[in-house]
Symmetry: C2
Subunit: 352 residues, 2 copies
């Protein structure tokens, strides 16, 4: 038993595969054994048979220095966000989040009062969205803060919505508006830099409440799931927008073996995002296509629901589903057609 | 919105509360909202109603530098252990683990091949215990490795076993043998120290396979759950032994509002543990009472099952449940009675 040293295994850098590549690499040989496991890796949540209904299970980890910087993220907001992003995964399956377990690793630089702040945010989000905090693990860390949340949701098995299922000619719809969370991060980075260079200058965050809240304290898209339910609309495929509109559209098209076409001028952008993007010399469409952490929903739906969706300002029809052979496309405002890529901003930037 | 700095909250050190104190502090105001949440914080797993059956949900986090040292823990063993400890929590509720989600945070010092080793262990444990790996999150870390696993299990609602439920005169039973995992850690620490001082000396681990395996690659107590089921025995209360026999006995007695009496000379200790404890100048009973990470089960059961349990070498009857007013006691080999405390080794050490 040679256990004193791990083998030297430094051969392939993780960056070579990328996050999605690594997940594929680690999970492509997994075989499901339990009859009640309906769906495993590959969607926003796993699906487990539970009597007449189905349970959804998902997990997300937030790591200090990677997902957040405590220099400008208040702990209460961080706690709230850690719950929001998990509820969002359940929404993306057309389900309702019911229970969470929360594990945290904290170093001794955190006081009980600091952990209380974090939990105040966790509890606030749980309370607002009727989710029960039912367990967790609390441990030490040698350096930073790590928050790992797992969520259990419930969904009517007739209403469950996977990433697969989009049909040719379906409408492509997104909720709310996009680009704000990304710009919120730009403001925080800018003001943090100014503050570090000259601590006597007060951060100028006035007038940016909406954009900052979208970054710091995002709400999960629970209300859209409720509205769709009231409208008797079951999307054919759905995903939450955590990695930018392009990336999510590509996930849907890949899982559904189709192509997706999006119109640039249909993408919903809030006027505050429009104005602020100019200030940062950014294209707001780029922010929407590539900026992450929006926690809006992107879904496809049968054309028969066009009128219902068109009337409701919560939803924006931004494109349609096409044959796989036609690829994934972005139709720019001038009518030119660009391939939609995960780095969608490349083509857009080139165009400007 | 003052978001640029977190408030200075350094008032109470986490150590003041301890892990269990902190968990109580953070969770004592939680109110359950969902009808299908049967039981939340406070046992080995949360209980969720799922049709005729009940689902169990639990989570555990392993942090580099706190729970493991990669200098002497092979990644494959670590992956295996991360699944074992979670399955163990489901066993402690008399349930069967069915699904896990695994999140890892890794720094760029880990190669794809290193992560593959970790996942090989994760998959091996999942395969051995028929658990489906159904999702997770893979993220970067600025420093160490963090593994967070959440597990879903299933249990017949008539068989579910909580920490509460022990009755006066019940037998107190533990599975397998105790103290080995703690001694395994002592060997690893010793050999690692020798190796660091003189890298030319090969670690001497011969003859310690059993003890090392108990520390590095623990098996969850699945087989005992199966045997109890075959024997038609439903314990009145149960917990897994992750923090030492004393600590777990106190959890059962607190949750069940009773007292527990344990006989020192009944505690099952493997002969290899007996021998090695001498070498380390340790009391093997101390190792059993206070050494953690055993992943055996401690349970209470009605006296009517005495004969069945007595006959099976998998189980050892180590004591009985008494009235709360009589407290928690350890009866030493010489007949003297000592209060059983979470630091049970204090009284024992004093005695020797």
């Amino acid at each position: 038993m040679n256990i004193m040293q791990n083998k030297s295994l430094n051969t392939t850098k993780v960056d070579v595969l990328g996050e999605f590549g690594l997940i594929d690499h680690l999970t492509n040989d997994i075989k499901i054994k339990n009859k009640n496991t309906i769906y495993g890796v590959g969607d926003d949540a796993a699906v487990i048979k539970a009597g007449a209904n189905q349970f959804l299970l998902s997990t997300d980890m937030l790591v200090e220095g990677i997902h957040f910087d405590l220099a400008y993220v208040p702990l209460k907001h961080l706690g709230y966000k850690s719950i929001s992003v998990n509820i969002s995964d359940i929404c993306a399956m057309n389900g309702n989040a019911k229970q969470v377990v929360v594990s945290i690793a904290v170093s001794n630089r955190f006081s009980v009062e600091a952990i209380d702040e974090l939990y105040a945010g966790i509890k606030l989000a749980c309370s607002k969205y009727d989710v029960d905090l039912v367990g967790g693990d609390t441990t030490s860390s040698t350096t930073g803060l790590v928050i790992s949340v797992s969520v259990v949701g419930e969904v009517d098995r007739k209403k469950i919505t996977y990433r697969k299922g989009a049909k040719i000619n379906d409408l492509v719809v997104c909720t709310g508006d996009l680009g704000a969370a990304y710009l919120g991060l730009q403001i925080l980075n800018r003001e943090n830099k100014i503050f570090k260079e000259n601590p006597s200058i007060q951060p100028d965050l006035t007038g940016h409440d909406y954009i900052l809240q979208r970054q710091l304290k995002p709400e999960p898209p629970v209300k859209y799931i409720e509205i769709l339910n009231e409208m008797n609309i079951i999307p054919t495929s759905m995903i939450d927008i955590s990695d930018g509109l392009s990336s999510e559209a590509l996930h849907l098209s890949k899982s559904s073996s189709c192509g997706i076409t999006i119109y640039e001028n249909k993408i919903p952008i809030d006027y505050t995002v429009m104005n602020l993007a100019q200030e940062f010399n950014l294209n707001p469409i780029v922010c929407a296509l590539s900026g992450g952490e929006e926690y809006e929903l992107l879904f496809t739906v049968d054309q028969k629901h066009y009128n219902k969706l068109k009337k409701d300002p919560d939803f924006t029809i931004i494109g349609y589903v096409n044959d796989k052979r036609e690829g994934n496309n972005l139709i720019a405002s001038d009518g030119s057609v660009h391939e939609l890529t995960a780095q969608g901003w490349n083509s857009i930037s080139a165009k400007k």
